[in-house]
């Protein structure tokens, strides 16, 4: 499937793909990308990763409880669903957010520009109020849903230009 994405969405998708491929051995597909999308289920497990500098904002990941158990089974190596605690799932999601944020910010910067990430916060159910959402991508990862968002006005200018093409090698039409 062709996807013509902004630089921001392209960098986010590439960071998620690489991370999930490495951590869960799953292929990632975009279901929907729209910052207004009202996506997700209640009781989602979430992780918020602050991006401190040079651009200030947040990366947010949300997954369903079922998704959390499946990923934890692969990442942590626990097959029995009862062995996987909510704490484990939140810790794993925080680590995924940390890794994705690093790849995402690095892709937006020159190699000689340093950057800094903050410490993650995690939870289940309602999330704290965040800064303005700049983008929101809904993903299918091995049959499970994940939503990834970027908040913070500093990232707005990366959302303007549609230039990245992913999921095949054709150019933007």
């Amino acid at each position: 499937m062709n996807k013509c994405l902004s630089k921001l969405d392209g960098a986010l998708f590439a960071a998620i793909s690489k991370t999930m491929e490495n951590m869960t051995f799953e292929e990632v597909q975009i279901v929907h990308h729209n910052k207004e999308a009202n996506i997700f289920v209640k009781d989602a497990t979430w992780a918020i990763l602050p991006i401190v500098r040079p651009y200030c904002g947040q990366l947010v990941l949300e997954i369903t409880p079922g998704c959390g158990h499946t990923f934890a089974g692969v990442v942590i190596g626990k097959i029995d669903k009862n062995e996987v605690s909510d704490e484990w799932i939140q810790d794993m999601l925080a680590e995924m957010a940390n890794t994705i944020a690093g790849r995402f910010v690095a892709a937006l910067l020159q190699d000689n520009e340093a950057f800094e990430l903050g410490l993650p916060t995690t939870g289940q159910g309602p999330m704290p109020k965040l800064a303005t959402y700049i983008t929101k991508i809904s993903l299918n990862i091995g049959g499970h849903s994940m939503v990834a968002s970027i908040a913070g006005d500093a990232f707005r200018h990366f959302a303007g230009t549609k230039q990245e093409v992913i999921e095949n090698e054709n150019s933007c039409g």
């Binding site: 951590m23 680590e95 950057f115």
Partner: protein
Amino acid sequence: MIEKVVIADDSSTARMIIRRCLEIAGCIDVDFLEAEDGVQALHFVREDDVDLLVTDLNMPNMDGRLLLKRVKGSPKLTNIPIIIITSASNEAIREELIKQGAHAVVTKPVSPASVAKALEDLMDEKQWG
């Protein structure tokens, strides 16, 4: 010979992945000490005869940068090799950390191959048997 390794990361998931990668990379029969932050890691390296410190950068209480500075600034600890495993990595950050005394910088997500490469470089440098 690596016999005792400190793994410092605030994420238990990350510590487990790093440990698994180290084992696959050849660290078998190794005593792993897991630290949740730089303070605990520093305590371990001060109290135990540690052969290798593998640390994240972004941690509460004492981050990996300060831990690196403390270890490399101590005449007693300065010879302990340090591998930094971090998600916040590019060429600028890598260069800065190597300049501060880190032996290798591995970008997350870690893989057995990337950890093995860092260990291999370290072995060559230190001539461990």
